[in-house]
Amino acid sequence: MTQAEIKLCSLLLQEHFGEIVEKIGVHLIRTGSQPLRAIAHDTGTSLDQVKKALCVLIQHNLVIYQVHKRGVVEYEAQCSRVLRMLRYPRYIYTAKTLYSDTGELIVEELLLNGKMTMSAVVKKVADRLTETMEDGKTMDYAEVSNTFVRLADTHFVQRCPWVPATENSDPGPPPPAPILVISEKDMYLVPKLSLIGKGKRRRSSDEDAAGEPKAKRPKHSTDNKEPIPDDGIYWQANLDRFHQHFRDQAIVSAVANRMDQTSSEIVRTMLRMSEITTPSTAPFTQPLSSNEIFRSLPVGYNISKQVLDQYLTLLADDPLEFVGKSGDSGGGMYVINLHKALGSLATATLESVVQERFGSRCARIFRLVLQKKHLEQKQVEDFAMIPAKEAKDMLYKMLSGNFISLQEIPKTPDHAPSRTFYLYTVNILSAARMLLHRCYKSIANLIERRQFETKENKRLLEKSQRVEAIIASMQATGAEEAQLQEIEEMITAPERQQLETLKRNVNKLDASEIQVDETIFLLESYIESTMKRQ
């Protein structure tokens, strides 16, 4: 793990779980697998705090445990999984676009709590939805259940590893830790539940207990003494499935940008057809015949078979090679070249960065070297039609930024410098890695700046929150307009201005984080796909 990744993990853990969990988490990321006592000793934290932290981390699928020889349990952190916390808003938003508000809240609850039983999710989501509905209306558990089942069927949520049902004929000494298993076929199996009920609104008497720490609230809700029907069956969000969806989205929109709406719809159809048949890490989808594609086009689409064939041919001939032709049967067999598509997307990202950082003439040189693979200094000047001095300057800028590298090709076995070719080339994989590393650093900077801005204005923020709370309680007890005005004026105009500026800045920084994470996703997908092929 690079320093940049560790730093980013540290910031994410601290923001979401507090300093103690951050300390333990970062320690495990740095040192690898460790047993409980070693963690406590090395971090100088009390054993109880370490236990608390580990429970939280395991609950959120950030740490796993393994039983080693002599019964020692060791804990291991998953750095890349911690980094996924950046993407949570995107997962939740995607669930909203696919399965509307119900889906959105289901995924949000699963991400907030790490693991939950289906019945707990359904109940919580029904309650939350009921809060937002008009007076007198409630959300039925059955509707939430249905959405949950659909999410499970399309693999967006999956079962967590579970304790296998063992026969108690041989009760030896209890194991140092339960061994959890997971089986492919049961991973999306929804338990047969008959959840009957409706969401409940929070009654106002609950809200009066303002002094109570919020932690007590979940316990209030477990009023019922009924046994939980799906006890022990936990669900989590399936991040890989979301990633597959994002990848498909990226490919479809790339095709739409490069060609037209119809081509992108065809590609979308092909990807949809391949969702179940092709594992997400495959370099290309299973071949689909033109006839099959024609039958699977969305209902509204009225293009004739010939037009479809023309589009498919165009797509297959495109130099970007998103679509490839793999045979002639069935009217033509076509595949989507997933790996090539990811490569093109990563390359486009690199080109865009070069353009925005160094200018469009530099970008021209960059694209030139990409296209020709290897070029000498002189050739670059000639092909790009840029004067030697400027071309040199630009090449060196890109070289020191590690976007371009120098390849030595010796003419003689003794590698004498005067008899060696020095060629400029773009190594896409290493440039992508470099850029990815930079993205991690960027987000860490963005988070630190946001925390700094918030801290600077802490006093003012607290004051504003107090005033809001006072206004809210006064409104609830029916205060007059004049009284409310008076309270509002407790915050002066310049202070209001300051708060506005703070809000704008924090929003900008947060939005930047989201945008950088999109780039991270593309680069990571490309790198992962490339590594799998090696």
Partner: protein
């Protein structure tokens, strides 16, 4: 190092510099003797951030998520610093969570037993707590808090009535 001696170019390099385009007699830039500046100047203005409904919504989701996490029991606050002197406001503050107790109930069937915390305090024993007991304990805490507030109220009444007499 290789390019370390920047004066003129008396030093020899391991490769032919003509091949990479440095002409004869041309001076190389001076060596860099310090790390790059913290805020290097930007040559080109960055492209504005994406905007639109989607981004706005995700922004709201992000901020709400962050806020929600801070108030869930998974957020472990560092233990309160030891009090230096007894403060007036201490009477009014709710007793915080016991240093050792965990504030949510993990499923211990799926965790190594070594992670369970043995809590000393008799009032807040939280081994494997079934639902009814939890509620009883919560209301016990509530009652305790209410009693405390009531006694404080009474004390205050005494104080104010004393003041009035003066």
């Amino acid at each position: 190092g290789r390019g370390g001696r920047g004066r003129g170019r008396g030093g020899h390099m391991t490769f032919s510099v003509e091949a990479v385009g440095i002409g004869r007699g041309e001076a190389l830039p001076p060596p860099t003797l310090q790390p790059s500046p913290l805020f290097p100047p930007l040559e080109y203005k960055p492209v504005p951030l994406q905007a639109g409904e989607e981004i706005e919504y995700m922004l709201a989701l992000k901020q709400e998520f962050r806020g929600a996490m801070k108030s869930l029991p998974y957020f472990i606050k560092p233990s309160a610093p030891k009090k230096d002197i007894e403060r007036y406001s201490d009477k009014y503050q709710m007793p915080g969570p016991a240093e050792n107790a965990i504030e949510w109930s993990p499923d211990w069937r799926q965790l190594p037993p070594e992670l369970k915390i043995r809590v000393q305090k008799t009032r807040k024993e939280r081994r494997t707590v079934p639902a009814p007991k939890r509620q009883a304990k919560v209301s016990a805490d509530k009652e305790e808090a209410i009693k405390k507030l009531e006694t404080l109220e009474k004390k205050e009444e005494e104080v104010t009535s004393e003041e009035e007499e003066e």
